[in-house]
Symmetry: C2
Subunit: 325 residues, 2 copies
């Protein structure tokens, strides 16, 4: 099956690398809004101009759209679903129903298959919430993120006067997770679930106390959290904080029994060295499913909830049953 990438940032690069790990796929190329001639891909795959994409309609089985959720994907995914089987990682949770409806309409009208909001949250975490909720109806859900880099929070710090560079880690509070794992069903405030750890490079003449105060009191981003600010040099930041790790845990605790006397804990957790490369790996597995569904005539928009696990795998049904069940 032939895969193409639309958008070549960290996620697009991750897809380029992930496709190489799957023998049943090949990469057609990358579509970019930049000048394709100036684009040097990691593995030498060809780059094309995004404005030419319709010409390649018959050369591409699934198009993996690697744009941003704020402004790119709400436009790109419905537009591209007109001509291609598509998949995206749209992650603005509140806007998913609207995005779904738009993509579903276009895909159904044009006989294409789409999957939206694929990755790990939304994505694998959502799946695990659904499975665990279905199995334990009398229970409580918890999601913890990190330790991992939040791009949005890092950007927010960089906008403060006197800040040259910054990296923000979201950290789960271990004691809170332990309480949850013990089945204590705690009610946890925002502050009790996560802390924020910041590494900041300031200009030589900057007022560090002011910067620290501006970070810690920033509404929405930091004010509701216990935040630690460390000032370091650009050299240290580049040396120690260059990666984009992330992860987290989805936990559901629930009760069964004649009088709810038995507790159960279901936990799904991820520890990822590279957030974009892992997200890309999930996208690529679901690209296989999108391809299979379209071949079966199953068109329209899908989420991870609507796709049977078998469709993600390159194995035959017999192999799966023999080796994985």
């Amino acid at each position: 099956m032939k895969i193409a990438i639309y958008g070549y940032g960290n996620l697009g690069k991750g897809v380029e690398l992930a496709v190489r790990q799957n023998d049943d796929m090949e990469l057609f190329g990358v579509f970019t809004r930049r000048n394709p001639e100036s684009l040097k891909t990691l593995t030498g795959i060809p780059a094309y101009s995004s404005s030419d994409i319709e010409k390649y309609k018959n050369d591409i089985d699934v198009l993996i759209i690697c744009g941003g959720s704020a402004t790119d994907l709400p436009e790109m995914t419905p537009a591209l679903a007109k001509h291609f089987n598509v998949i995206d990682s749209f992650d603005t949770h509140a806007d998913i129903p609207v995005h779904f409806a738009k993509v579903d309409k276009v895909a159904k009208e044009n006989g294409t298959t789409a999957a939206i909001s694929v990755g790990w949250d939304p994505g694998m975490f959502s799946l695990n919430r659904l499975y665990a909720n279905s199995i334990l109806p009398d229970g409580k859900d918890y999601t913890f993120w990190g330790k991992g880099v939040s791009q949005g929070h890092s950007d927010a710090i960089r906008r403060i006067e006197g800040v040259l560079d910054a990296r923000q880690y979201t950290c789960p509070v271990e004691e809170a997770m332990e309480k949850v794992r013990k089945g204590e069903n705690p009610e946890l405030t925002t502050r009790e679930k996560h802390t924020r750890l910041c590494y900041v490079v300031a200009s030589d003449d900057a007022d560090l106390a002011r910067i620290e105060n501006e970070i810690k009191t920033m509404p929405k981003y930091f004010a509701d959290y216990d935040t630690t600010v460390n000032f370091i040099s650009q050299e240290e930041l580049d040396r120690d904080h260059k990666g984009i790790p992330h992860g987290g845990s989805v936990i559901r605790t629930g009760k069964t029994g004649l009088n709810g006397e038995n507790n159960h804990v279901i936990e799904y957790s991820l520890k990822l060295d590279s957030n974009p490369e892992f997200t890309a790996s999930v996208l690529v597995a679901y690209a296989r499913a999108v391809y299979k569904l379209n071949k079966k005539g199953d068109t329209g928009c899908k989420t991870v909830f609507d796709i049977a696990p078998a469709d993600l795998s390159p194995m035959s049904h017999e192999e799966m049953i023999s080796h994985l069940l």
Copy 2:
């Protein structure tokens, strides 16, 4: 939807309790090979003779078969799939392909829908192996079980001369799990992954040294493990070891990146106070899926791999997308 239970051991009782937690289901009753008049159910639901079951064909939407994998299910599931939508927890891994083929044939011929090998292993653990393998093709799988009661190993000890009662716990080796979680990809022998912990009640005149030796050297069951034997009184066994807890972890570690430089760890873990009640809860969620699939005309035999997660949930698609994605 109307659910019936076939077989009333620990698992059947778990199903009886689990159905009560699901508002969209009601329990028709229990079918037993014993005299139904002598059977007192936990919640007072009616008991019927298993030989009369065909009379109730039109009263039951899904039949949950709670028999043993050794001799019951290979006969029962194909026979009952002729008249009912059925689900079982067949767990003899090596025989699943044959069982699948038999049930699939009957179900397809009779327009029924069946799901086999549903529970947590096989079941939720299998699912997580499949998802993780599809996402990280370049990786390694590990499954650890416990700490939990193994009925088979407890029974094996009870067959030793001079043993009155026994309870065996399978315990994962924490150091091995930590190595796996760190992405060290260890090659682990049977002995390095699990230990076995036994609580044994011996008769007054028994030779304890002989019993301990017979346990520790028993082929297949104990010889390949580091085994600890504790002799206790029947009173202590009844007081401290009455529960049927279990659990475990499925872990996949894998690499991505231009040179495999990024490691990822996916872990799914369960901590269960009651193994049969949790297994029953999984069966009940999949009974909902079997019902929905049959309504859609999707007949034949299914496994957890073939069923889309959305079919397990009582939520509408809109609710799922809004609340869980």
